[in-house]
């Protein structure tokens, strides 16, 4: 707890500075003050919490789920077969050079305003760090440990289950912690680009109305959700991984 105090103080300081500058400018459509944002958040709480947040979370959750499944699958088959690795790896890296925000409108063309256009954007942004981190984790197993298992007569499957999976578990958690904020950002961007509900969509609508505090309020809400989710994952991680410090 003690080590969090400096961060807490700095946060307060920054918020205070923001409040002063915003009050100095005195134009909420350019820079709303933190207090204005908070009061807006309170004012809009029902529609934000019960209409738009669930919409965004739906996209986030589906996108994250598919990214994790797809990411793990790709990482595992690349680890099993060097041929598949050679074939896939360049494409996976190349997928990151796609300017997602630029082609997202195309997805709207394909899938309309359905949830899938937004899920696709989320996946494109999220799955990459999962594949790469987990794949590196699987590759990071110590050669000596693998050979020791082989001297005990272990099969490929034994080695995968008893050695590779546990070694890849810490990187897997890191990947998830990275992927949560990314998937939320992905969902919000997708909604910003074309949607009929969701916090990203709401923020954009407030933009057109020059309601500065209204633009920020959904974003603050998203940040809070992201932080809480990462904190929960961290807690699960602490329960599962007791050995990390040692490696």
């Amino acid at each position: 707890m003690k080590k969090n105090i400096p961060a807490f103080l700095l946060g307060l300081l920054l918020l205070g500075a923001w409040q002063c500058i915003a009050m100095g400018i005195g134009a909420a459509y350019i820079l709303p003050s933190p207090l204005q944002i908070l009061s807006k958040l309170w004012q809009l709480r029902e529609i934000l919490l019960f209409v738009h947040l669930p919409a965004t979370m739906g996209v986030t959750f589906l996108g994250l789920l598919i990214s994790v499944v797809l990411g793990l699958f790709l990482a595992v088959i690349m680890d099993i077969s060097p041929k598949i690795e050679n074939a896939l790896y360049p494409f996976i890296v190349a997928s990151q050079t796609i300017p997602t925000t630029a082609i997202a409108p195309l997805f709207v063309l394909w899938f309309g305003y359905s949830i899938w256009s937004k899920v696709l954007v989320t996946i494109l942004i999220t799955f990459f760090p999962i594949v790469i981190t987990v794949y590196d984790g699987l590759k990071a197993t110590k050669r000596e440990m693998e050979e020791l298992l082989m001297t005990y007569g272990a099969t490929k499957k034994d080695i995968f289950i008893k050695l590779k999976l546990p070694t890849a578990l810490p990187p897997f958690f890191s990947a998830i912690k990275m992927a949560i904020p990314l998937s939320i950002i992905g969902a919000a961007i997708a909604e910003w680009l074309g949607a009929q509900s969701g916090l990203g969509y709401f923020s954009k609508r407030m933009m057109t109305q020059l309601d500065g505090a209204g633009v920020f309020a959904p974003i603050v809400l998203l940040s809070m959700v992201a932080m809480i989710s990462v904190a929960i994952v961290s807690m699960i991680e602490k329960k599962c991984i007791t050995w990390r410090k040692e490696i």
Binding site: M145, L149, T151, Y152, G153, K162, L163, T242, K245, E246
Partner: protein
């Protein structure tokens, strides 16, 4: 009995063979040390016995049968303990038995027994990070024992330990050997360790090598530290050191 018959081996990326037409044999129940300059191929002999490498020529037999046809004839203990940090001590020891699909009950029984043997019963539920270097090597040894093989291949198991711990572990290992009646092949670069522990010592003298000189240690078991002060033992140590230095000189 372990037998090498005319074994030749070369790593693909090396320009010279490691060993050529190597033949030797080890009796059941023996304690053999292999010494030689570093890089001369000691660990490679173990990799061949383990089946991690295949000889290009010749064959290796255990009790008259080629090793390709048999299982669990040898158990390897590396220099680093290589305990899995995510497994408790107990689970680490059970690893080889898990791979052999031995029943949970039987695993537990043997694990408790061996933990008692090595004097670490209190640590069953702890993790490797809670143990000292010497304790970890004892656990690693326990795991090797429970791999269920009659022949143990120990590759410089104590070389990473500090001097006092190493001396303790040597005495401890002799006790374990007498208790478990296994055949032990022990790699070391420490001449004194080889002399103190083994019935006979194999010396690797050239590269590539085609035989190993076998030298008997004129001491009975059980042994004591003081035995190392006897004249013939001091001479033997001197003689071995000379051999190793000649080899180093040739290498340069």
């Amino acid at each position: 009995m372990l037998e090498f018959q005319n074994v030749s081996f070369q790593y693909p990326q090396d320009s010279r063979p490691m060993m050529e037409n190597l033949s030797f044999s080890v009796e059941d129940g023996a304690f053999i040390s292999i010494i030689g300059a570093s890089g001369c191929g000691k660990s490679t002999i173990f990799r061949l016995i383990n089946g991690l490498e295949k000889p290009q020529k010749g064959a290796i037999f255990v009790n008259g049968r080629p090793i390709e046809q048999i299982k669990q004839y040898s158990a390897f203990m590396p220099q680093k303990d290589l305990l899995f940090p995510w497994r408790t001590i107990e689970k680490n020891i059970c690893l080889p038995m898990e791979l052999q699909n031995i029943s949970k009950q039987e695993q537990k029984k043997r694990c408790q027994q061996v933990l008692e043997e090595v004097g670490l019963s209190a640590y069953a539920k702890k993790y490797p990070k809670d143990l000292s270097g010497g304790m970890k090597q004892r656990i690693s040894f326990a795991r090797t024992i429970l791999a269920g093989a009659e022949m143990l291949l120990l590759d410089e198991p104590f070389s990473a330990l500090d001097f006092l711990t190493r001396v303790d572990m040597q005495e401890w290992l002799l006790k374990q050997w007498e208790h478990f009646h296994k055949t032990i092949l022990f790699i070391t670069h420490d001449v004194e360790e080889a002399v103190f522990l083994s019935k006979s010592i194999f010396v690797i003298q050239q590269k590539p090598f085609c035989d190993m000189q076998s030298i008997q240690v004129p001491l009975a078991y059980p042994r004591k530290r003081e035995d190392l002060k006897k004249k013939e033992i001091v001479d033997l140590k001197e003689q071995l050191i000379q051999k190793l230095r000649q080899q180093e000189a040739k290498a340069i």
